[in-house]
Amino acid sequence: MTKTLQMLLVGGLVAAIAITLVLLGNPANMGFCIACFLRDTAGAVGLHSAALAQYVRPEIIGVILGAFVASLAQKEFAAKGGSAPVTRFILGFSMMIGALIFLGCPLRMALRIAGGDLNAVVGLVGFVAGVLGGTFFLNKGYTLRRTYDVSRTDGFLLPVIALVLLSLLVAFPSVLVFSTEGPGSMHASLLAALVAGLVVGAVGFVSRLCFVAGIRDSVLFGEFPMLAAFTALIAVGMIGNLAFGSFNLGFGNQPIAHTDGLWNFLGMGLVGLSSVLLGGCPFRQLVLAGSGNSDSVVTVFGMAAGAALAHNFQMASSEAGVTLNGKIGFAVAAAAVISIAVYNTFGKESKGIAVAE
């Protein structure tokens, strides 16, 4: 089987799982969204108090544990870290601000397009622009420097945290906060969501699925298999939505979306740029975090913190549109990301290359 065919199947599988999760109770066009689900989980443990967005999403736990098990099974679990962790925290934080301006991560952007939401097409244009911007910095020498081997225990901690969250959800739900209305209250059963997460996490690890890599690799290397996964995800998602009567083409009346084109463009532009600078989209960061990469764990923590502050400071968008605080927060986050890109591209000292002795 060719690599492109494999990635077409991977994209199609993820879309089918996402459509199934919506049928089982997840919000419309939100069968899977790493940004939204991390935000809901942050709310459920009390990091923010947005009443409509609080639930420990088993999909997040599943992706972490699925990637963890797959990496162990493939003998590729590798505890690594130490590549500019604080910078990665800020990039993860900023990426989440962009995602919550748009209302979704790249995965949900694709699912929104598959549902006929043309606002997400505007987001895709911004996302591509952001990825191209990041690729420019990569080609000019951007680096956060190398990772190092760390204690194997360090790599096990996020899966352990995921198991603790799962235990709380199953055995002690009263200590968590759950939405009683809005998107946070809409979810598939715990078991279905967990199994879906496990499968998507494992498949994501084995295939190295990344929604940024699709565009980046086609630009940098002229390689298209990852882009094929992205395309298959949209195509299969669209077929599913058409089959189940949930395809609604247009800008208005789209579920958990707003129609402000400029901010849809800018929000996803920031996600695209941050993702390239981090080396992967939010989904890829979560998968890497489950497979021992502590730099990605720090990034995920940054994303969760960004989600919490986005809601605590009223920076997250809603169906009513983008808030003033959101625009200010975006400006600060974008300035931080661009500064990081510029400094780590043009501000570093080169030691020079030499033949090893």
Partner: protein, 77 residues
């Protein structure tokens, strides 16, 4: 001449190594890392040479010899 795949700790390292090889007249290509190879960074350098080229200063991780679509690690930094 043999085919080699060099992996790196960062994209910048791969880019630096690729430029250094090109400077030496070696035919080299930047590519995504093949799935059969593990790496911190998703970018590798494929090149044809009589032996593995070990360079310092470019965050080199490993070099693999490619034989019949299989990869044998011949250098690990």
């Amino acid at each position: 001449m043999s085919s080699y795949v060099a992996t790196f700790h960062s994209h910048f390292g791969a880019l630096s190594y690729w430029k250094a090889l090109k400077g030496q007249g070696v035919s080299a290509t930047l590519k995504p890392v093949p799935r059969k190879v593990s790496s911190s960074c998703g970018t590798c350098v494929l090149y044809q040479h009589s032996s593995a080229v070990d360079l310092d200063g470019c965050e080199l991780d490993s070099i693999y010899l490619e034989v019949d679509d299989a990869f044998e690690c011949v250098l690990q930094k």
